[in-house]
């Protein structure tokens, strides 16, 4: 007897589509619990520690928002690029370039007043990230290169470039040989919410989400981006300039990730140092996909994933578990959301060959 699984289209999508991010997190936790149990940890205890750490106190909540800021900015960039089916896996590198740009301004114009210095840093970060995004976009548009590989290779190049600078020419002469630059002047530090580490980057992120929503649904270019994403062939027949839109989108996408880099160096660290990002650029991909590439949803999902990162730090501090646990959960969340997206539009049918159908 042979069994086979197949899919059948549902007449109407199931109503739980908006709940997918939360549902996939709920399913990923027990699956990740298996890994915790293998490592000899009580999953229940571990998750309690994570949840309390991230959401159980005002301090925890503020730290969750702090981690959500780079995820929000980079996640918006990734969502925009994915909308037109440009698989920008390079947010991590674009983020590093943004940090380099902001740092370059902060270290070279330390005497400027904040109202002049900070806009300059923001511009430098945006343009540096945009430039890093434009390289794979140009290679794709004019040479047909696969953007997945190029954006990823450029992540490694960007991180090594930053390491070269902080271990070499940009190293703090008074830093006892540690791989970081001199501290930024006070004028280069972003404004903070009193009593927390939440900084102006949050406002940047929220503004960017709003602008992106306007761009996507209220402008001609936004319309083109959406059509190219839905049906590239139709877009081409309609006479849309796909190369131009691609370059514009990647400049914006990379620029937003660049702002995430700025928010880390000017909002949190106060200098550029080795190990700037714990993979924000990769987590941003998950943020974008969970948010179904919707800018407003990116805001909410980045807080959810920010909480996961804070929870991961708590696991390390309180239970001595490696932070890599958060990657396991991130991967699992993505698996479940992918699976459930399909099952919200299709029914899974288990067929026994030669007999009637049995629903699962």
């Amino acid at each position: 007897m042979t069994l086979s699984l197949s899919l059948e289209k549902r007449l109407e999508p199931t109503p739980w589509v908006p709940l997918l991010p939360a549902l996939s997190v709920a399913l990923a936790l027990p699956a990740g619990g298996v890994v915790l149990a293998i490592a000899g940890t009580n999953p229940w205890e571990a998750y309690k520690e994570m949840a309390l750490g991230a959401f159980g106190s005002l301090y925890g909540l503020s730290e969750t928002v702090v981690k959500a800021i780079p995820l929000l900015l980079a996640g918006l960039g990734v969502a925009l690029a994915f909308r037109m089916l440009f698989w920008n896996i390079g947010a991590e590198g674009q983020l590093h370039l943004g940090a380099l740009g902001a740092t370059w301004v902060a270290l070279n114009a330390p005497d400027l007043p904040a109202p002049l210095l900070q806009p300059l840093m923001i511009l430098a970060a945006f343009f540096a990230g945009a430039a890093w995004g434009l390289i794979p976009a140009t290679l794709k548009v004019y040479a047909g290169l696969n953007e997945i590989i190029t954006t990823l290779m450029m992540n490694y190049i960007a991180i090594l470039w930053m390491d070269f600078l902080v271990y070499g020419p940009w190293k703090d002469p008074h830093g006892f040989g540690f791989p970081f630059t001199a501290p930024f002047p006070p004028a280069a530090r972003l404004l903070k919410l009193p009593g927390s580490r939440i900084h102006l980057g949050l406002a940047l992120g929220l503004a960017a989400a709003g602008l992106l929503a306007v761009l996507l649904w209220r402008t001609r270019v936004g319309y083109e981006i959406r059509i190219i994403g839905l049906n590239p062939r139709a877009a081409r027949y309609a006479g849309m300039n796909i190369p131009k839109v691609t370059l514009l989108v990647l400049a914006l996408s990379g620029g937003l990730a660049g702002l995430a880099g700025l928010s880390e160096v000017a909002g949190i660290q106060g200098r550029l140092k080795h190990g700037l990002s714990p993979g924000y650029g990769y987590t941003a991909i998950i943020v974008a996909w969970l948010a179904r590439l919707n800018p407003w949803a990116v805001v909410g999902v980045s807080v959810l994933l920010g909480g996961l990162l804070v929870g991961g730090d708590m696991l390390q501090i309180a239970m001595g578990l490696p932070v890599t646990m958060t990657y396991i959960l991130q991967g699992l969340i993505l698996f479940f959301v992918l699976g459930m997206e399909v099952l919200s539009g299709y029914r899974l049918i288990l067929r026994r060959r030669g007999s009637s159908r049995a629903k699962t």
């Binding site: 899919l7 490592a39 696969n146 997945i148 590989i149 190049i157 998950i286 890599t324 991967g331 699976g339």
Partner: protein, 309 residues
Amino acid sequence: MELWPLILLTLAAAVRAGTPILFAALGELMAERSGVLNLGVEGMMLVGALVGFMTTQKTGEPWLGLLAAGLAGTMVSLIHAFLTITLRANQVVSGLALTIFGTGVSGFLGKPYIGVPAEGFPPTRVSVFGDLPLVGTIFFQHDPMVYLTYPLIPLFWFLLYRTRPGLNVRAVGESPESADAMGVGVALTRYLCVLAGGLLAGLGGAYLSLAYTHMWIENMTAGRGWIALAIVIFGTWDPVRVALGAYLFGGVQALQLRLQALGVGLPTYLLMMTPYVFTVLVLVVATRETVRRRIGAPAALGIPYARGE
């Protein structure tokens, strides 16, 4: 040191550095030939590297470790196969999830093994062949895993171009509708190819922890999985050209390490960039070539197949 022995040694090092990528790229070639893009190579390699190392460390048997690594890679790839073939989920995102998951699992479970020694594969000089001038030094003074790859290259070529199953794989990757109409099981073929890809990525990962180095380091693949994906494009989905690509890349890696060791004026971090920059440059050349000769990716690559939709 004299120049000639130095060149020979660098070429021999190129073969070793290319071997993990060769394993992974041959596996990815099979998956892509059947129409499934798997961006999880990096994750599968990491899991293979760790499981291979753990098993060898526990049992003292590198061959058992190799087997376990292959199985682990296969298991991880099964997730991708189920999501993208049965559930027809987005292949790009599923593959990325696989890499993130594999990075996490190997980092998490591998923590206690950092800095722990294990035997792994010793260098084994092949008799007769190893004594040949030039060829012997470059190809036959390595470890058993390198020798394992030599027959794989013609085997994959033969399988793909000269056998019925190979024809089926290519048909499924080019035109699943026609293959289906001819009675070829599209889903089954794709499952087998993705799992083969997982197996080989697992072995490639194990090469790093059992032969290239004899230790486990978190994230020890350092992008080799992604480079393998680039090599498949560079090699235009052909096993022989993919092998050449892997060795070429190994050459860049070996040269880069050699220059670091010699202490030429260039900063280490800039030298470390070269493999990644080289990969992009190689893609530029390869893509121009594929466009000119009109040989491209398998036509159904990345597209889920559903009968009658």
